[in-house]
Symmetry: C2
Subunit: 449 residues, 2 copies
Amino acid sequence: MERLLIESALERVRHALEHNDIDQAVAIIESLRPADQAEVFSELDEEDQEALLPRLSPEDSADILEELDEEEAAELARSLPHHTLARIVEEMEPDEAADLLGDIPPEQAEAVLASLEDPDEVRPLLIHPDDTAGGLMTSEFLALRRRTTVAEALEAVRRWHPEGHVADHLFVVDRNGVLCGMVTLRQLILAEPHQRMMDIMDPEVISVPVGTDQEECARLMDRYDLLVLPVVDEHHRLLGVITVDDLVDVLQEEVTEDIQRLGGSQPLGGPYLDTRVTRVARSRIGWLLLLFVTETLTGTVLRLFEHELDAVVSLTFFIPLLIGTGGNAGSQTISTIIRALAVGDIELGDALRVLWHELRVGLVLGMAMGAVGYARALAWGTESAVASAVAAALLLIVLWANVIGSLLPLLASRLHIDPAIVSGPFMSTLVDATGLLIYLYVAKLILGI
Amino acid sequence: MERLLIESALERVRHALEHNDIDQAVAIIESLRPADQAEVFSELDEEDQEALLPRLSPEDSADILEELDEEEAAELARSLPHHTLARIVEEMEPDEAADLLGDIPPEQAEAVLASLEDPDEVRPLLIHPDDTAGGLMTSEFLALRRRTTVAEALEAVRRWHPEGHVADHLFVVDRNGVLCGMVTLRQLILAEPHQRMMDIMDPEVISVPVGTDQEECARLMDRYDLLVLPVVDEHHRLLGVITVDDLVDVLQEEVTEDIQRLGGSQPLGGPYLDTRVTRVARSRIGWLLLLFVTETLTGTVLRLFEHELDAVVSLTFFIPLLIGTGGNAGSQTISTIIRALAVGDIELGDALRVLWHELRVGLVLGMAMGAVGYARALAWGTESAVASAVAAALLLIVLWANVIGSLLPLLASRLHIDPAIVSGPFMSTLVDATGLLIYLYVAKLILGI
């Protein structure tokens, strides 16, 4: 739906720019929603962007910078004069402003901060790492005292003009700024004008210390269906608020990291096409080398059984088939278990139940694959003793792969390592070498070589 | 944090139940937050659950049934007498109530519906598939007319007592129920009492038709940072509202499916440990068999080169190493591309850029692996001609795996298939057979056999 809208807007903007009708281009962009504005904007040439941005209202420019990818936004910001950038930053949500200022050269950031009307709204946010509660929170919140009346609170809401779309929650603090409760706009409307915050507030507010990891924040907000999550310092003083739209972004980011890890690379930490080839290669080479070294074990195993392979050459034909099937069975298991751990369907205490589950699944699958493998080997004209060895090896390898696939993530979790790190490729590589050992040993026994 | 709290609560509840002090057990559970209540509850024996639930307040029971896994909730609901269940369902959010009623036997659901005070709140929700906008929406919303004044609207908010925690949004409809705008509580507070909804409402509300897929709803809410998403029928009449907490659950569910597919199995569609062994096995056997058949191509390739393998037996030792490395390089690529497609970092139109990106990454990685492979082969005492063949094959196979790993998901997307379906195992299997062909052909050329 919005794809068409964006294509058409983009075409009209380009057309206007070609005819030097910059007012028309500005008008088209201003008619769009922020997310769409940013998408149209990011498709334009750099020089068009730099020409357009100062002509848009600071509010719209702020929206666009908030919605663009971090690197694109920083690049654009770097090209702007300090006072133009300051006027835009003024209109950004403080948490987004802090993120942007952290991505441009420190001198420019200082100059922009110096030109801000209220730099203290942004400055404290600059010190927190991006992936913690402090890096996610905004300093835009309304804090009231316990004795404030509902009438006064409503008046405060009317006087307050936040930049961003903030959630409809007010916070109650004591004289030292210590968080003591939360009130929703709905509660304000339902209450009598003379009631005090302490009478209507919910005193049991879930909050997090400023250094809390963003994944933990997201988990808490998801679990307790929170729209806002207050962030406090070591004295439980209210520092800022995380809103639910940030949570969704965090969840998406964490899942991206998990999926990239599952595929056996380090997380890229940025949009794919904007990541340089050397950086993409760097994110993969470490694992690829480690896996290569592990995989050389297969060569060692094969040399161990050189005599047997020489005696019955047809054994060789089944090698990729057997270890490939083991790797596939293991991948199926490991991805299921890693996800079950991530969403909390299973915990460490369930290790034995998980193992028992996978042993039975492995037995069912192994028997099925063994039967199919036996038939396939005979159809190839393989002698029946070799076919039997293939079938027995398939059963054992699938069983073994299911065990490895379930134990590896549980073990990682036990060692407080992110289970997604034990990637599919890592498991396949392990199963390759051990599966080969199983196959050749079984063949040796059955064929008596 | 909440882990300890839950363990301790669980212990105290069990202790109370052992001493038949059911009041104490009820008191402990009622002191917890809904998500924690559900977790403690789900750890109890079935008979304890059945004994406890009727003793809890209907509000708390409703919260617990909402938070439990679908199957657990349905099982528990089935064990309750109709009137008890009706009292609980009365307190549930209508969308959750509808989901639960859809999971119990139709006769029981009918009996419960018949005992409800306002069955029309739930009944219409029963007809929509679970994974569409209609299945996600709740029928609890406040709809006002365009000429309603702010004072009247505030009065309506005061009189309204929704069961769930609803977002602070009011909707404006015309006399036929057609959605024409949205008003937040904040706007009501800021406005003058005599102003009318048509003056203060935001008329440009993003809404979705009732049959929209849940993934599309989640994407829209994420993109436009929406807290609520109204659902309309074909005449644009307001039917219900999706709230942001449902969005988070949808995102988690979709990611789980993607990760299970990436691992090469069909989505389980339920919590891991609650899924029967036969069902888990069924979700995997199809892919495992398909991959097995594909993987037998490796046997065909090996037989094709039987003469060469007989002539230079040491070629065999590198087979698993080479195809394993190809599979790993392909997995790294495919997981990155699938995720980049899912979050919208790349689109179909970027196919050539993606391919160019991966060709260069593949070249860098392939040269590195070729060099390492050459050194490793020599260290094993392999003759230098074979080592050269291994190095050249490694370079080509990694390059090839990167091409396959980037083209497969793009192709799937082009064919309107979920790219996550082209799982890692599928790609590995393809690369196994083709990589083998590359290796043996290169060896044949270099060794002149």
